[in-house]
Subunit: 456 residues, 2 copies
Amino acid sequence: MTDTILKKLQSIFGSEETFTDRETLTAYSYDAAHTEMLPEVIVFAKNEAQISALMKLANEERIPVTPRGAGSGLSGGSVPLSKGIVVCLDKMKAIKSIDTVNRLITLEAGVITSDIDAAVNPKGLFFPPDPGSTLFSTIGGNVAENAGGLRGLKYGVTKDYVKTIRVVLPSGEAVTLGAKTVKHVAGFNVEQLFVGSEGLLGIFTEFTLSLLPLPEHRESALAVYASLDDAAKTVAAIIEAGVTPSTLEIMDRFTINAIEDYKPCGLPRDAEAVLIIETDGYRESAIREMEKVQTVAAKHAVTRFVRAKDAAEREMLFEGRRVSLSALARVKPTTILEDATVMRSRVPDLVRAIQSIAKKYDLMVGTFGHAGDGNLHPTFLVDKNDKDMMHRCEMAVKELFAATIAMEGTISGEHGIGIEKKPFLKDQLGDAGVKLLRDIKKTLDPNGILNPGKMF
Amino acid sequence: MTDTILKKLQSIFGSEETFTDRETLTAYSYDAAHTEMLPEVIVFAKNEAQISALMKLANEERIPVTPRGAGSGLSGGSVPLSKGIVVCLDKMKAIKSIDTVNRLITLEAGVITSDIDAAVNPKGLFFPPDPGSTLFSTIGGNVAENAGGLRGLKYGVTKDYVKTIRVVLPSGEAVTLGAKTVKHVAGFNVEQLFVGSEGLLGIFTEFTLSLLPLPEHRESALAVYASLDDAAKTVAAIIEAGVTPSTLEIMDRFTINAIEDYKPCGLPRDAEAVLIIETDGYRESAIREMEKVQTVAAKHAVTRFVRAKDAAEREMLFEGRRVSLSALARVKPTTILEDATVMRSRVPDLVRAIQSIAKKYDLMVGTFGHAGDGNLHPTFLVDKNDKDMMHRCEMAVKELFAATIAMEGTISGEHGIGIEKKPFLKDQLGDAGVKLLRDIKKTLDPNGILNPGKMF
């Protein structure tokens, strides 16, 4: 990074928003995955014009640029793998408008995801995608990773709520993709190509997102099982019975006990597995759906089915689920969190595969996740200083992904490819599939300056 | 088309599925839009390998290929504008599997859309997208056009139900895009780029689509208005009240009377407008939603609100809506059907714009459509032999699209760009937006052999 380039960056972003000191560079060298790389410069953007100017400069000088929100991503998407410039958008956090008639919100990319609900809940609306990072992740990052969450099986994921994207292309040109209307078929569905593009195709500055009316009522319950397999089988049976809960989470004995050690939430330590279930909608429908769920559970060897009596009881259930990753992360120095995803009918097979692979490689594993959409989070608890253990873990992950693909599943349900799953993408998509992605990337970013080294 | 090429086509498709006679060529020279062009050859595909071989041949010989399903498209997507070869997929109509646990159907591209419901309704499932052409359109065409329908506001459109696409790329290579899982973020969201690509990016051979459980109950009603404006205002007010009907259609006086002339359905000839409304879900919810709708309508000067008492009454209401286009098409020799779409809050403005533009250009217009998702079908009734009238109609359409774009709407909600709306795409997307589409097209189809001359 020459002084000339640094001066140009300072003139674009202001010297007060341009950093090269070791401390700041270090703070922006990692995200919630496992790779670190020091960038050469960090700049904080305040508007689209700055980002356009940055991309033009970066193209001229062939400098890699990595966009970043809160750095809460789990696949390394915001790590500046090729050094260069990190452009941070977390200061672009204006909510520009809330439209209750059309159920839309227009906002900048740096808005923290949970701030959307804080702004729209009082108006009777909500933003359904709720990744675990919602309290600190930015909506820009969520769109770039197509973030999921606990309500995916009923409400879908981030992509289902993106109406328009304002994006600075790698060339520096800014375009608006999509439309604010419910339906829009003018041109290719290119806005959806950009959702989940992991910072490889453009830098998002603004979105219009759709919202839904808050459901009138929620019913929550805990189903307790003496066998992980029975819990997993119940998941598919609930869906087959025509019920679509708003949440349908699974946790195994290991995870339950890690949670109770970390933050007691009243979960049954002796259970082999639990399901946390929520139905919502009109009061009568939510209740009827929960009754159907209970009936299905009873047919699948549930040992206890506890309906939350009030908000406090529900809150305690969900708190357990929310802290599960933190609780597991305390057990060992290193946490390898995966998000293998299969069709719901295959959840029992995936659960069995996780157990047998962990046993084969003598690894500690806690399994929890969004069973209702087939998206599990097997979490290997290891120690990165133990080379033999790390090697066994690598083998286990490889075997897990092979098993997932063999079940017609996907190596990533919601965390993205980034750095972490790059070696496995070809197994998922095949050579022709990866070539298609590469071709698209090359078309939009011929100099390969935007977030290089990721995905493929 | 040389004899050598024809022989090669015959060896790929069999001489019994390769046609060059004038009669067959004529039958495949048009769709439900307004442009005709004779192809040089028609071939009927039976499998993917044939289509791959076709694309390789077409690339070598630089012959345009236009894929076609039932030819029910309304924007000219399947018209062979550059002559060459039409490849028809309507003989690839196998339903390969129905998976009730995962709510999925896997089927070939030539399956007729309504055959999906016929196959899955008995299993308690349904396929929500229901374009007007559902009884004869193919699912391949629906995916290529991202078809909409009457249930879009609650259930979304075709793109929301596409899990995987098997596609033969312009190069002849076949790939599977997407995954059967509920969530999938491995690689760019490229399956969604192909939905609505209007036959420009690849030829679809097979899909896995998601299904939903059939709702337990439906409530239907007719709301009658003495003013079109009041009907339009009711639409936005219903949504703002937090209700999402499964159907919310509008019809103006002109359309109502055309229907009653064509096929009496008991619609009120003296009304200025009607809304046809359906709510669905659990019995109690559907009833409560309809009650909310009725309350909102009462606040917006509804003159009568008639709830359908049984299936026969509901059927009659929907029959009126279904025949509206046919009814209007009888009035004059030529029907110019548009699908301008705005946010729901702007439906009253769009309705007023349609009326005033029709008046300004002295044109007959009937307006009906999916008001609940802001998607109207203003239908100009003209005579293609009257040059002055056609010129006035052209001016009117131009003005209508300008008004739609000025309202942040879209020139096409569900019919696509094809040939018909090509001149307006730039107004919608801007130069940079169109360039992005062109770049993607060029990357995938460098020789420009697949459905050339369309969209941009």
